[in-house]
Structure formats: C-alpha cells, structure tokens
Point group: C2
C-alpha cells in the first residue's frame, strides 16, 4: 500500500543491491517511519524476535528472506546445507509459536536442497523462493480483498452510495502481512474502487495496535478513519453508526470459532445484538484443522501485567513510557479471546466467503475433509 | 474508607479550624495523595470546575460546603442573602449539567432563608445543612452496601467460601461520593465482613478512572483487585472467572435502562451471554423519572478526541502526557453508553434491590407513580 503517496510492501530487496533485505521498523510507528537494512541472519533473527516486524504473514516472509541471506553469507570452508539448517534453527527459535515461521524455513530448506547445481544456483533458488513466499502472501491478501469488497459494495448500494462505516479491531492490516492485510484488504479494495468508506479503528489496549498501526496505515493510504477507545463500538452500533465489522484472526477452528486479539468477542456480541454483520478475514493458513471447540481449546497467551500498567507514547519528541495505575496494583494481561462461530456472520478467505461453520469451511476447502 | 489505614471521607471540615473545607485533590491520583484547603467560594468553584473532585454525590456535597463558605465569608456591608444567591449561581455555573449541584445549592438557600435569626444563626444553619448533605450521601451509599452485600454473601456461600470475583467498570467508588461509593459499597461491606472477594478493575479508557481511582481506593482499603484492559471482561466471563458484575450509573430511567460510562453495555452483553449476574448500584437521586427509552433518549456527551489521542501518566517522577496515535488521525470520544434493562439483573438502591423494570423500580418508589 502507499506511504506518502509511494507504494511499499513491508519487506523487499534493496533496489540497487539485492543482497540487502529492507523492512519497515514498526516499533517507532506511528511517530517515525524508519527503513532498516538486514544483511546478516543475526539481524533478521533480531528483527523478528524484538518485533521490528510482527504479524503471521510478515513473520513468515521475513524468515523466507532470512534463509536467502543465510545462503548468500554461507562460508565456503564449511558444508553449505549444514549452515542453512543452523540458520533455520536460529530463525525458528525467535518466535517459537509462530506457525508461518517454521513453515517458511522448511519450505526454503526443501527448495534449496532440491537444486541440482552449484552454490550460485542454490542461492538463486533461495532468492526465488523468498520472493515467492512474499508474493504468495500478498496475492492471498489481494484475493481476500477481491472477495471481501463485494460485501462492502452491496452495503454501499443499499445505502445509495452513502459512506459505509466499518469497524475493525487490532491490526490485521498490511503491516501484519506483506501487502494489503487480511481485515483491511477489502477496505483498501473498496477505497481504491472509489466506494466511500470510513473505518472506526479500535485502539486495541493494551498494546494499541489499532491506534498505532491501523490508524497509521489507513491514514497513509488516504482512507478516512477515526480512532476510538475499545469501549465505544457497542454504542456506535446501537445508533446505526457501524454497517459492518471486519477483523483478522490468529487462529480459527475448522468449526468457525475465531481466536483473535482480546476484545474481539465483545464487539461480536454487540454486532449480534444490533444486527450488524461481523466478518473475519483470513488466509487459509490461519485455520486450525484439528480443534473443534475454540473457547475450550485455543490456548490464550497471558502476557506481562506491565504492558497494562505502562504505556508508550510521544512526549516532547521522544518515546517515553508512563505509569497508568497505582504502582502496587497488579494487572492481568490476557492477549486473545475466542469469538464463538454463532456470532460470526462469515469468513473471507482467499478462495471466497463462507459461513463460519464446519460445512461452510470444508465447502471451500474440501481437501481438508477427514475421511 | 481507609487511606494508609486512616479513615477518610472525600470532603470534611478541617479538624482544628471548621471554617476551612478540606478535600482530596483527585487529579494527581493514584500517584500523589494531596489534601487541599478550600476557604473561598472561588476556590470551591475552581475545585468543581477543574475536577479536583468529581462524581455526582461528591459534586453535590461540595456545593453544599461551598454555600457554607459563602455564608461565612459574606460581607457585612451588603445584603446577606443576595450574596448567597450570587455564590449559588457561581457554583452552579461550574458544571451546568450536574443535577446534584443545583439541588444542593437550592437546598442550602431554602434552609438559610428560613432561619429566623441573625447572621450567626444563618451561618450555623449553612454549616449544619452542608454536613447533613454529606452525611445523607454517605448514609445512602452505606445502605446500598448493606443491601448489595447480600448478593455477594449468597455467591460466597454457593462457592463454599471461595473467593467471589466481581468485575466493575469506571469509578463508582467512594471517591465519586462522600464515602463507600455506589458500586463499591457492597464490595467494601463484604470485605469488612470477612467475605473473600477479588475485584477485576476495568481500566476504563479513555480517562482511566478504573486504573487510576478504583484501583487506588480498593488498594488503600486492602481489597484484593487486578487491573485489566477494557477488552478482557468477556474472556474472563467465558472462563468462569467472574461471579458478578456491579457498576454505577450516571442516569437510570424508571424503566431500568442504565446510562453509564462508555463500555458498560459491552460488559452487560458478555454477562448475559455467560449467565453472569449484572447489577447496577445507585442512590435514588440518579433515577430519571421522565425518560422511558434510555437508548433513544439519554443524551450522550461527546468529549474532545484529544482525550483518546493523549494519555497522562507518571514518568521519572513527573506527570506527563504522551501521544498514542498518528498526529493527524482523528479520534471520537463518546463518554457514556446505555445498557438496556433486558441485560440488567437488578438495581441496588438505598431502599433495597429491585428488578430493572418499571414495576420493579416503582415497587420500591411508589411515590413516583404517575396517576
């Protein structure tokens, strides 16, 4: 998508030196826009571990590029593939629960090992595979946009072209993928088609991914939006100010239960209570084909209470962290919740839109049916 | 309630000089505990206007004391009652929508005007009335506690004495009244009786009254509590970690619709979805006897978006304000929402507990029946 009118992805090869990987360092956003060069596996590992980049799709793509860098930098006095396996282990250790990370490393190892040629040919293959992983991620998100935009288009028509108000939670935007995003892809597609939209951006406490990242990327691309406290969505829906909710997801069961950033469940309840359609957008890699009951079985990460007690922001040109609570009051920090399928109107995937149910999902992904 | 083991109200006459009114300046809480002397009507007006104190009950009590100070400070070369009427106007202008403020001023004017004696007798009456207003506020809250504690006691028995987990939103604590609070009164009563409780404190964005004030007052009184982001309550309820919700209210219709801090509606939806009892505690002065449909008719204050974009906290020993969003992203700031009566299990008033319905409420307040 665009930043200051120029098209960017979240990761790419440097234009005049394709041995350097470049990323947007997301930590100082929205206050500073910094591009970072990655030239060594250690730098790539640090970028993932210390969250210069985050988001399922982007973590996978970054690991893919990391393996290309490992191939480029391999020493000639040591076995080539051994070094790549070691680099893969180093990358996988940075965020052990990220499914896409391990998947990208394994895909690279297989592709490179299969090359019947010299090291130059293997490096070329690693580069080609890294670019393919990134392109596929962007392509899946683009297709989510193509399918999802139809929902927005219909609402727009029903409103005779009046502004369609969409509420989103957290950042399932292009900063979490290589381009387009999942939840945001239909919004960008609608905006680019000239459909009038306005996005209510939940700030998404405690880490404020909405207020920091979603607001920034929508603003940069020129999409009208308004930041709101997480408490506000229900009131807006009661008063007809939300036409549609679209969220992303970290894990969705094959029965349609949606695991996503804490607070998603509350918005889904309000949507149901006010007959507002509630959609979740996801590439199919986010489905969990083994879990039936999301509320009972999706593990919910508990993070440090300090993330609730302190918050970072800009003060006098500097990022500072301020204490919000009494110093001695404990805080709990559940990072995700699960929205039962009964509250989800539908899922927007790269293959199309389906009901949030076993039948709906397996209808789009029949190869996943268990015999 | 107690601060560092010593009993305080939120407003009182100075022990060694009853011509001075003392309040807790709530602005630097929870980081600093400051007592402020009020000796002139201008100081009282500033304390109300600039929110050194806030909360329906406390605003009323402060206005009552303000009229006593006006009587004390009246010039002898001007008509006494004219000066009091002018002071009353000055006080009422500070927060024009606060019902209790005007009510306290009028009560004082009537009481003082009715005194058949000299100025000394009138001053004595103003002092007596100010103390009576404060005492009545505290007494109503104490009675709310006596009624509400029965609900907690029952849950405690059903759990064989295991900890009762109560969730609350915003600050309907003793800092909003003269003592005890409304939503917190049953909690303090339970704690003081030795019933094991633990309170989940919603931080209550954007002004964080929960994280700042409720956490502080519960902590000072020794009540176990945990601060959570406003997004968390639904997840906790899904997993059986909330036994009871108690909130306050800014205005409740005689049909049982509850206007309260933005986000209350989302918690009520989650409580309903998970069969968790949801109670609202209020002195009867908070009922609106004229409004039938709360969602349609209770006016919702929209405040400055800056309150969402910036937040205050403690950094290196100083209170600083930090920017959370992109500088150019707009923010909306709806301050209240309305929870329909169908989601409210019951109301806890100074006269007892009733259903959140016209029949339930008029059963407790039969004198309000319209013929």
């Amino acid at each position: 998508m665009n930043i200051d009118g120029k098209h960017y992805r979240t990761i790419w090869l440097k234009e005049d030196d394709p041995t350097v990987v470049q990323i947007i360092d997301q930590r100082p956003l929205p206050h500073k826009f910094l591009i970072e060069d990655l030239k060594t596996v250690a730098q790539v590992a640090a970028a993932i571990r210390d969250m210069h980049i985050r988001g399922a799709g982007l973590v996978g793509a970054t690991a893919g590029f990391g393996m290309y860098i490992a191939a480029l930098n391999a020493r000639k006095d040591m076995p080539f593939m051994d070094q790549l396996v070691a680099a893969g282990e180093q990358l996988k250790a940075t965020r052990p629960t990220a499914v896409n990370l391990a998947w990208a490393v394994e895909r690279q190892l297989k592709a490179i090992a299969a090359v019947d040629g010299d090291i130059t040919a293997k490096i070329a293959k690693a580069k080609e595979t890294a670019l393919a992983i990134a392109d596929e991620d962007a392509d899946f998100c683009r297709r989510i946009g193509e399918h999802g935009v139809k929902i927005i288009e219909e609402i727009s028509k029903a409103k005779n072209g009046a502004v369609v108000n969409i509420l989103t939670h957290c950042n399932a935007g292009w900063l979490a993928f290589v381009d387009y995003g999942s939840a945001t892809a239909p919004m960008y597609a609608a905006h680019d088609k000239g459909i009038k939209i306005h996005v209510w951006v939940d700030e998404t406490r405690p880490r404020n991914q909405g207020a920091r990242l979603t607001a920034w990327e929508l603003g940069q691309h020129g999409v009208p939006h308004t930041v709101i406290a997480d408490n506000v969505g229900g009131h807006l829906m009661q008063h007809g100010l939300v036409d549609l909710v679209i969220t992303g997801t970290d894990r969705t069961t094959y029965t349609g239960d949606v695991g996503n950033k804490i607070g998603t469940y509350l918005k889904a309840l309000a949507a149901k209570d006010n007959h507002v359609p509630f959609y979740t957008a996801l590439p199919s890699s986010t489905f969990d084909w083994d879990i039936r009951d999301g509320v009972k079985e999706i593990p919910i990460e508990q993070r440090e209470g300090e993330e609730v007690k302190y918050i970072q922001g800009m003060h006098a040109g500097e990022m500072v962290s301020v204490l919000l609570t009494p110093e001695n009051s404990p805080a709990a920090n559940y990072a995700f919740d699960v929205t039962p399928a009964r509250l989800v109107t539908g899922l927007i995937t790269e293959r199309g839109i389906c009901e949030a149910s076993e039948d709906g999902i397996l209808g789009l992904y029949p190869e996943k049916k268990k015999s």
